[in-house]
Symmetry: C2
Subunit: 89 residues, 2 copies
């Protein structure tokens, strides 16, 4: 399979079926979908009044927050790493 | 404000209002919300047949995918960093 080939993977998230088209292998898409499904269920457990639409948006917000925190940690680690490089020189 | 105090921040995402309760400062919550709003609009532009619910779930999937990619990069960098530590000893 060449790098430009796209895979179509059908996954279930929170009771609905989605076909995800992209370059990631199917097992990766399924893992991502399962993590999103899990996070939606956790947020629902914490607030059972939420409709599916709000639940999905809040899941995206929650994941984006995790992403930004990790990004900060990555930048801090990169800074430490680069300082170590300088010491070596 | 003590560390345990929670803030309530109201944000607009894709035309709907959400009150986010948490320990993050309001400006951070607004930035996260604006990134989610932006991603939803990008995904909508690529597929205008999607309803809001599917759009929100696919935004969560997309963000989770970015998170996992960054996590892999973080682990690789940590590995490089630790190897450098070992060389120093």
């Amino acid at each position: 399979m060449s790098h430009s080939d796209k895979t179509r993977t059908t996954v279930d998230i929170y009771g609905k079926s989605y076909t995800i088209i992209g370059q990631e292998p199917a097992h990766h898409v399924r893992m991502v979908a399962s993590l999103v499904d899990q996070k939606m269920r956790e947020i629902y457990d914490a607030n059972q009044k939420l409709d599916t639409n709000k639940l999905a948006v809040l899941t995206a917000v929650n994941t984006m927050n995790d992403y930004l925190k990790l990004k900060e940690e990555y930048i801090e680690l990169l800074d430490l790493y680069e300082k170590k490089e300088d010491v070596k020189k």
